[in-house]
Amino acid sequence: MSSAVAEAHRVLRPRGQLLDLHPTDEPTALEVWHARYQAQADFLEQPENLEAIHRAPIGYLDHDETLGDFTAATDALTEALDTNPRGFSLQRATTFNYRYFFDSLDELTDYLEENWEHATASDALLEQALTVMAQATTPPKLVIVQRVVVTALRKT
């Protein structure tokens, strides 16, 4: 069991719960979103309202080998499940898409440079995004879509 998971196990009461969120090792997608109707200018407040949003997939960010680091979290949880009798049992796991919204290409690239060491947006990807943004009929947003897995474990 990893040291962090082992420490969590120690400080949890019997039958206590461990909840983990971490990105999967799937490539991160870039999309352009815009509202279908001008009246839906607040579409970001209702991101699940697919009727109101036009979503255009552009492609994927380029990742270096550190994308695989995200599997370390999955490995740590798997190892915790294998550690019996004083480990964890799986309650449930599910996934969702985490989204980052940007108003411009500059904002997107600045954010990646400052915060994401493991991913870059290629010139071709950015050019494609710019083309799609220019075709949008309402103010567009650049959207990074990252798959996240949430796992609940129960202390045994």
């Binding site: 400080v11 206590g16 909840l19 991101p47 309650q91 980052y100």
Partner: protein, 98 residues
């Protein structure tokens, strides 16, 4: 600025897997508290732990308007927790187990 607030989908997904109400919670890798504040005030105790003092400072700035004696911000390492055995009902790792 990019929109980095937790989405309704993210919060809803977490709530399908955990109930924080009345629980003693330790959040490991709390960062600036982005995921702490939507849930922390429901808990009986919420320890938001992060090894980065600057992040904990940012979390404190955010918390200023909703100070609670049940919410504590701690600079620390999740691999060596300074709490007794069996202190918490729930341990939450927020993008910190990588």
């Amino acid at each position: 600025m990019p929109l980095l607030e937790p989405s309704a989908l993210e919060l809803k997904t977490i709530r399908t897997l955990a109930n924080f109400s009345g629980q003693r919670v330790i959040e490991i890798g709390a960062g600036d508290g982005r995921l702490s504040w939507p849930f922390a005030l429901e808990a009986a105790l919420w320890i938001a732990l992060d090894p980065d003092a600057e992040e904990v400072g940012a979390a404190a700035s955010t918390l200023r308007d909703q100070t609670s004696p049940t919410v504590r911000l701690v600079v620390g390492d999740g691999r060596t927790l300074c709490f007794p055995d069996e202190t918490f009902d729930l341990a939450l790792f927020t993008w910190s187990l990588c």
